[in-house]
């Protein structure tokens, strides 16, 4: 006699994070697994929430700049820049030419540093045991040295000011910047040879975490993720700020919108950033590095939304002033958070390794997600 026993089965629910080597901080992904295939995924954020947007309402306009360092701490320059541009728009401040160029140079240096970090951790997520990460760190380190020369800090820079930049870079800054520009192309070519045609890396990231152009636009993602999906969109071109309209550069665009495309787009953006820095160095005018603004800045009542192309995407600030010394509302459109929104669609049906690679290719920064 054959008796059949009903075996009780249930999906395996695994918390990837908040403590996990590949969640880039304290992000948590709750996945339902069938074997190793993800049947459902749920993103949980909020482990690094510091209530910045509320705190900012208690501080003056200038005092809020350090908060922007601590959002995306891997790209503090662009955080500073986005906020300062928004306040300048609100208060109608003219920024001197030289300050504009300095801002472009530092923002592009920051983009190189941030992309180096993003690509290093991405390859690390693919399983290359830290080697590419350390190589990328080597380049990032040189950029951080430059930042240290300019403003004394390496990570939380607080360099941009409303109306310009905090300091004129010292004289020894320029030769070192030139040396970096001279040696970086060779280094990038080296990474191209090591990584881009590495068959294992291609196997791991091709056709993984696909995001169609339509889906990308509908879910409002921006930055390299949008460009990886084949949409040539860049705020530096679409709505130029600072002096980007005087720069000649290209928008790298991916082919099919998978993890590999996002990776190569970042790789190419580093080259384009170098192009921009070179042009900015040639065009750099003499003059003051900051506008003459009152210490206690009080913008007129009103509201403004202004966004820039940060390394991770569209970093926007929505500011409301009631004509007081502090903002009435200080809202951040953080690219890391919004780029996460299509992640569920991207990982369902894939396995855990693919989900990790997909998350790595999005290049989130939890400091920016939670604020």
């Amino acid at each position: 006699m054959v008796s059949s026993v009903a075996i009780k089965t249930e999906p395996l629910v695994v918390n990837i994070g908040p403590q996990h080597p590949s969640t880039h901080g304290v992000f948590r992904m709750r996945v339902h697994l069938d074997g190793e295939v993800i049947t459902d995924a749920e993103m949980v954020v909020g482990y690094l929430h510091r209530s910045m947007e509320k705190l900012a309402e208690e501080r003056t306009w200038t005092q809020n700049i350090p908060f922007t360092d601590r959002m995306d701490y891997l790209a503090a320059m662009t955080g500073n820049l986005s906020y300062c541009i928004a306040v300048e728009k609100l208060a109608g401040i003219e920024v001197p030419e030289r300050a504009q160029y300095l801002r472009v140079i530092f923002a592009e240096l920051q983009r190189i540093a941030s992309h180096a970090m993003a690509n290093g951790t991405f390859v690390n997520d693919c399983g290359a045991w830290q080697t590419p990460l350390f190589y990328m760190f080597r380049e990032r380190e040189k950029i951080l040295d430059l930042f240290e020369m300019a403003c004394g800090a390496r990570l939380t820079l607080n360099y941009m000011r409303i109306g310009g930049v905090a300091f004129e870079p010292p004289d020894e800054f320029w030769p070192q910047l030139q040396a970096l520009i001279d040696e970086l192309p060779a280094r990038i070519d080296e990474y191209d040879r090591l990584l881009l045609d590495n068959e294992i890396l291609v196997m791991r990231s091709r056709h993984v975490g696909m995001l169609s152009a339509e889906m990308a636009i509908n879910s409002s993602v921006s930055g390299p993720i949008l460009r990886g999906s084949g949409v040539a969109w860049d705020i530096r071109k679409a709505n130029p700020y600072c002096v980007y309209d005087r720069m000649d550069f290209d928008i790298p665009v991916g082919n099919i919108g998978d993890c590999y495309d996002r990776f190569v787009v970042r790789m190419e953006e580093v080259r384009q950033s170098l192009r921009i820095i070179k042009q900015a160095l040639v065009q750099l005018p003499a003059g003051s590095h900051t506008a003459n603004i009152p210490l206690n800045l009080i913008p007129p009542a009103g509201e403004v939304y202004s966004a820039i192309e940060s390394p991770k995407g569209e970093l926007g600030f929505y500011l409301v002033s009631e004509g007081g010394p502090t903002p009435f509302r200080w809202h951040v459109r953080a690219p890391s958070l919004i780029n996460l929104s299509p992640l569920r669609e991207m990982v369902v049906g894939q396995s855990i390794p693919d989900a990790i690679v997909t998350l790595g290719s999005i290049d989130i920064n939890v400091g920016e997600i939670d604020r």
């Binding site: 695994v14 399983g127 290359a128 045991w129 190589y135 791991r204 969109w233 665009v253 190419e268 390794p353």
Partner: protein, 417 residues
Amino acid sequence: MLLSSWWDVRDLGNAVSGLVDALQDAGVPNGVIYSIAALLGCLGIIAFVGATAVINIWVERRLIGRIQVRKGPNRLGPFGLLQPVADAIKLIQKEALQPKSADGVVYSLPPILIFIPAILAFAVVPFGDKMVLADLNVGVLYLLALGSTTAVLIFMAGYASNNKYALLGSMRVIAMLISYEIPSVLALLGVVTFAGTMSLSGVVDFQDTYWSWLIFFQPLAFLIFLLGTTAELNRTPADIAEAESEIIAGFHIEYSGMKFGLFYAVELVNAMGLSAVIAVLFLGGWWTFGVEKVIPGWILFIGKIYAVYFLLIWFRGTLPRFRMDQLMAFAWKFLLPLGLINVLVSAFEVLLWTEYDISAGVILPASVVVNFALAAVLIVGWSKLMMKPFTDVRRRPHLFNEINVPLPGEATPEPAG
């Protein structure tokens, strides 16, 4: 040839046989003599394994450091050589936590038991002409059998931990074992067919007799076995069982303190063991084109072990990890057919040699040429075929000078009709 005196350091086996002879002259019973000889051999192997495990921690960390443009441990002792000691002291002091829901005995046993196959593997490895503890005539089979038991112990560890990541890790180990044993066996089958013996000393003797390392006769088998080794050792690019970036530490995620330390150490011992097997089967073991008559063969052999081990470290420092299904596909669709073809061709060559009496002077150089050409053609062609879905898509990005989507609130195209 070799001096057979006990003081000849070129082969430490002479010292033991000298002792055996002396004891026999003194009238000691044979059972006691051979027990003493076996005990000496065991002690030698355990000393070698223990010492190399400690040194390898340092070697691996320093080399990985070099590869990763950093220095590696360099503070404790000269060149940081005492770092492994400090690591061990730290691990011993740490509390060995055990999860409440873990299965006590099954959880505690694997870190200890896993050393047994790792050390047993050295029993059949010939360090010199006479420096082999047990010259089994089925040595190759014995090694393959030992390799499988490790996977069972890893599965035990992962399953008894009652942790979801550990469970995933141990499931991966079993799947990987089934896939990788077969190409490895096929690769060794090619070697055994050629050498005509399963004894490891016999394989070295074959290489000695025909004045050539087997890697020249079996390049394809060497590569297949090397890749199989990475899977067996859980090392990059096949470290899916403990994949740090995916399932954190896989099967040993719940092990702390010295239990973790034992897993860590056994990894190095296993790496040493399999490097030794590769050195014996493909790189001539202690035999090195006559150099072993000047420099002791066992020193050359250890040098070869480290050369292979360096290759494994290099892999670890350079390559990303395969995905589970890709690793399986690699084993079944790439290594397995290549292994079969290699066995077929080797068998044909041996058939010509032994049955049709073509002299070794003709058949051996001819098979070197044929096998190298075969390996090159098969690897290049087959990998092109396998990579087809990945090479069809353009790899470099397109460059646009302008945005290609309408700006918000501007000139959106009117819908037709």
